[in-house]
């Protein structure tokens, strides 16, 4: 079974849900389709939605909510 990595295109702060007190876009173990939003990257006070970009099963997040990320850093993995 191969794993596919989902990387952040931008440096910033990673959020797993659209707002505080709201469930995350995806829970660990969820299936994803390529256009699905899996999180938000905040860069300099602007918010960019991050889509999965790949289809897969059992998404696993490698970055916690509200953690800083670098451009190119792996945010999550899915099973292809």
């Amino acid at each position: 079974m191969s794993k596919t990595e989902i990387r952040s295109p931008l440096p910033g702060t990673f959020y797993r849900s659209p707002a505080p007190d709201v469930p995350p876009f995806k829970a660990d173990g969820d299936s994803v389709a390529a256009p699905d939003t899996i999180g938000i990257i905040e860069v300099m006070k602007t918010f960019q939605e991050l889509s999965a970009g790949v289809e897969g099963r059992a998404i696993r997040f490698l970055v916690d909510n509200e953690e800083p990320v670098m451009a190119g850093q792996v945010i999550a993995e899915v099973e292809a």
Partner: protein, 461 residues
């Protein structure tokens, strides 16, 4: 008590500006920094620097307890809050004073009073300052709201009493809109601010943003004339000037006198700004709000008056009386400030943090560049995109715009895309040359003129 040392509770270019003012006054400086800011310019320039917390502003620059603890541990006399972050947080001002230190700004109570939009409107009305036609205070029912709107005329803005900075605003074009929006606005305000209080203001559709710089020592109050900040994108200022050159002299005198009356009404201490909308066609002006901090665009006022506003606010906080009288404040020439942001104007102003490979700063008479940048510095992605302010001064506005165009051509930032190109286009634009702008000018201009010049659509996000 004269201030001998101060802590800078901010970052970026304003931290650098405060350190320079403090050094000129012989004051020891202590700079706080987040884990993402260890190599910022202010850390290098300050006498001491202490890490305050992780990159997230909420855990560092906005963490009142951590900042006050750092200030006490550093043994400073005072704290300068800069702009943004905790600069207009009354609880922070109170916490600094409770720790036995001096907050460089007004007292917490004054910040609280002027920060409450309904209370500030009432203060303005008491001082005889014209406010935007609307409700006298908070309104609790749709019946009251419609009665106010029928009197002022539509469209109206429904605003949250506890809102501010463009948040908690809805526009109603007619009575049906108002009936639909009013209950939602109240529920939203309650959820967002913990206070469902609303008030109503008529929408002034075409106006200039003109603001007056004030200084007060609690007993004496002066103005340092006005700035014009009509060129805005998404309610954020992009380009500022002083003076507002098309303002008739009698309007200027009334506007500035009203700001002084307002400062006097609240026995203001420190530097502040009273913001207005000015309608060219009717010559009417309306109070919007008071900002109780030093503003980003303060340098244009410094350039035309020769007053060091940051030094003056430090001296006032230390207990000194104003060092200048009103009749000593004179306007000499014209100044323009361009905000240089790391944003890509041809890609919908997408923020572009990154490494500065090369930096060439323009020099020459009347040219000033306030910045946090140096070659080899990597701009972190966690904070504002403002990285520098190019300020140009000349004997009149025409010469100022020519000098500005040359300075913009000389300013070189190799690395991330910036808004320098946008300012070059503005500096050469015929409408900007005539001063024919208002608060909605820039967004339309970006869609038409600028998109045409760059061959790209201005908005993607």
């Amino acid at each position: 008590m004269t201030i001998r040392s101060l802590l800078i509770a901010n970052r970026g270019e304003i931290a650098v500006r405060i350190i320079k003012a403090a050094k000129a006054l012989g004051i020891r400086t202590v700079q706080i920094y987040s884990a993402a800011d260890a190599d910022m310019l202010a850390v290098k320039l300050a006498d001491e620097a202490v890490e305050v917390g992780p990159p997230a502003a909420r855990k560092s620059y906005l963490n009142i307890e951590a900042v006050v603890t750092m200030a006490k541990a550093a043994g400073v006399d005072a704290v300068h809050p800069g702009y943004g972050f905790l600069s207009e947080n009354a609880d922070f001002a109170d916490a600094v004073e409770a720790a036995g230190l001096t907050f460089i700004g007004p007292k917490g109570d004054a910040i609280r009073l002027l920060g409450d939009k309904v209370a500030a409107r009432e203060v303005a009305a008491r001082a005889g300052v014209p406010t935007v036609p609307g409700s006298a205070g908070r309104i609790d029912s749709l019946e009251e709201a419609t009665a106010v709107a029928e009197r002022t005329g539509y469209p109206v803005m429904i605003k949250a009493a506890a809102g501010g900075g463009g948040r908690g605003i809805r526009v109603a074009a007619n009575r049906a809109d108002l009936e639909r929006h009013f209950p939602q606005a109240s529920a939203e305000a309650l959820a967002a601010f913990g206070d469902g209080g609303l008030y109503i203001e008529k929408v002034i559709t075409r106006a200039r943003h003109v603001e007056v710089q004030i200084l007060g020592d609690g007993e004496n109050f002066i103005h340092c004339y006005e700035r014009e900040c009509s060129l805005q994108r998404r309610r954020q200022k992009v380009w500022e000037e002083a003076p507002s050159f098309l303002l008739p002299q009698d309007a200027r005198e009334k506007l500035c006198a009203s700001a002084v009356a307002l400062a006097s009404e609240v026995s203001y201490r420190g530097a502040g700004t009273v913001e207005y909308l000015y309608d060219d066609e009717t010559g009417e002006f309306y109070f919007i709000e008071v900002n109780t901090r030093i503003q980003v665009e303060h340098p244009v006022t410094e350039m035309i008056t020769g007053i060091d506003l940051v030094a003056e606010m430090i001296r006032i906080a230390g207990g000194a009386k104003l060092s200048i009288r009103q009749d000593q404040v004179k306007i000499a020439g014209h100044a323009v400030e361009c905000r240089i942001n790391v944003e890509d104007p041809v890609r919908g102003f997408l923020p572009t943090p990154g490494r500065i490979d090369r930096l060439v700063v323009p020099a020459g008479e009347g040219v000033r560049f306030d910045t946090m940048l140096y070659e080899g510095y990597t701009i972190p992605p966690f904070y504002d995109s403002l990285v520098g302010k190019l300020i140009v001064h000349a004997e009149n506005r025409d010469v100022c715009l020519e000098r500005l165009a040359r300075a913009l051509a000389d300013l070189t930032i190799i690395g991330p895309p910036t808004t320098i190109g946008l300012h070059q286009a503005l500096a050469g634009d015929p409408a900007v040359k005539r001063g024919a702008f208002h608060t909605r000018f820039l967004e339309q201009w970006l869609e038409t003129e600028f998109a045409g010049q760059t061959g790209r659509t201005a908005e993607v996000a």
